[in-house]
Symmetry: C2
Subunit: 330 residues, 2 copies
């Protein structure tokens, strides 16, 4: 019974028309500099090229396409560290719905500005994702709104379309590395890849400074942590149950990388791809550098999940003394 | 007779299958922050999302698709400050040909590395584009190779496909701002836009520190200049004749912006779009800021022609004291 509830490849294929009504497939490019660095054939899946600069938007448009009229009329409520909120705000806008997004105080200002410019009401609440979530659950209940969970199935179906694009563009892929925040992207990619070819290795990565999903995956039960990562897209303390059980079933490995290695990877990606990656989106390169030996000579895809790095973070990373310390940490 | 030789919309439509065999259309995104800044409805055409990070690649694949077997066998020779060379290298690779690219000493190292990783032979010659060109003309003649001029018609036909994408995605566009190096992109966009709707305003931009094409356009005859711009994609001293006459026929305006304004625009684009623009690709935003009054309330497209900014340039731009001086200059 629990098995039957896990999203399938069929669900993801079914989401495609809803996703491609508003979005275009993203490119998968091979980078020779990164390939030399890792000692593998390295491709990057450019989810940072989507509107809002992150893969999440694929999920929002699919979810909203399936809402009842009553849900549509009630408006959407969700909590987010940023990209999920942008996804809900984008989907609400293109479908003409209202959206209320709760974010932690100190949320990435670019992500907040993007949500507001899409017409969403943004409410700051508490120091972290969990406190913003608590507030929005109450607000949705009080106002009779549709609460959107960051890992609900319709979102996983939508974001799975990028996994399918990877395998269509590169059928000979050997390994895919995906960062995990709430886990919807990693789950969706794992479902697609393992269903089509179980030999594709699926590797997830989190920051060692916020390992809630990784520790839960390793332990086989939910484990809470104190999150203090620089990668806002990875800053979760309490694991999500829906994605935890899917990752448990499908992942080959789930590694941790230090924030310092993530920051060094942001700089390397800028240098080799001329694309700005946010912390979460650079974690796969940090993981690949850690797993160099295992990946040698293989066809490897790194998912660049989003590009919403703040200017403050970028300035700090590119300051000469900072870069040295980040490399040392990596 | 001279009229008949100018590329047409039909030529550009004919190039599409050759371009889309290897490349996907790029996104056109609306940015609310940039719209507020300009006081217009601002979209960015993301040519920086193409392989090699620049629009030029559309031209190379079209040119090579039309070569005779003799030309294919002889190998390709061209001179470039970077992106045109990457385009020829990419096209040569996907079609299995040899390519020799002459670049000025001190050429953008990322662009040079990309050409080499695509299998091209890169030769450094002289202090500027013109000296590299002089060398490669001799080398092509000596070795019986096919010399590729940076503005030949097949290249214009190929790059025109992005202009067509703009008008298909946003038929209500009022104005398009395009940077000019050799001028192929601006020519192609102007041909497409003016043929489809003569009321679309076509504005070209160059650096005031390298205004060869702008001065030639204004004077109605070729004018040489001393080029010393920070935007390597715009660093030409001698105007191209083929593109000069097309620009003369089609452009509504051709403005100059200072290097300081271009650098400030690179930072603004990073902040508002999270995309890295090279100097040439930021010039349209600098021009839009200069033309704010004229563009008020209109549907404006800025072409982000490429993203190949070097890390050294980026570091310098993001250093706090530098940013202030760039803003002051802008």
């Amino acid at each position: 019974m629990a098995e039957a509830e896990i999203p399938t490849l069929h669900d993801i294929i079914t989401a495609r028309p809803h996703v491609y009504r508003y979005l275009k497939p993203t490119p998968l490019y091979r980078y020779f500099g990164l390939s030399e660095l890792i000692g593998a054939n390295v491709w990057v899946k450019h989810e940072n090229h989507l509107p809002g600069g992150a893969y999440k938007v694929r999920g929002g448009v699919n979810l909203v396409a399936h809402l009842s009229q009553k849900e549509r009329d009630s408006g959407l409520f969700t909590a987010s560290t940023g990209n999920h909120g942008q996804s809900v705000a984008f989907a609400a806008r293109v479908h003409g719905l209202r959206a209320t997004i709760a974010v932690p105080e100190g949320a990435n200002p670019g992500k907040v500005a993007a949500m507001r410019s899409l017409g969403a009401k943004v409410v700051f609440h508490g120091p972290n994702y969990e406190s913003a979530l608590e507030w929005v659950v109450g607000a949705a209940a009080a106002q009779g709104g549709r609460l959107v969970d960051a890992t609900e199935d319709r979102l996983i179906h939508g974001v799975g379309t990028y996994g399918l694009e990877i395998i269509e563009d590169l059928p000979e892929v050997d390994a895919i590395i995906v960062p995990v925040g709430a886990g919807s992207g990693a789950c969706a990619t794992a479902i697609v890849a393992k269903t089509i070819n179980p030999r594709i290795e699926l590797i997830a990565v989190q920051s060692a400074q916020a390992p809630a999903m990784q520790q839960s995956w390793a332990a086989g039960r939910p484990v809470n942590v104190v999150a203090h990562t620089v990668a806002d897209g990875l800053a979760l303390s309490v694991p999500f149950e829906n994605t935890r059980r899917i990752l448990r079933k499908y992942l080959d490995d789930f590694v941790l990388v230090d924030d310092g290695a993530i920051e060094a990877a942001v700089v390397l990606l800028l240098e080799h791809t001329h694309n700005l990656a946010e912390g979460a989106a650079a974690a796969p390169l940090a993981a690949a550098l850690k797993l160099r030996d295992r990946l040698a000579g293989r066809n490897l895809v790194l998912v660049m999940t989003g590009g919403n790095l703040s200017m403050d973070q970028l300035r700090r990373l590119l300051a000469p003394q900072r870069e040295q310390s980040a490399h040392a940490a990596g």
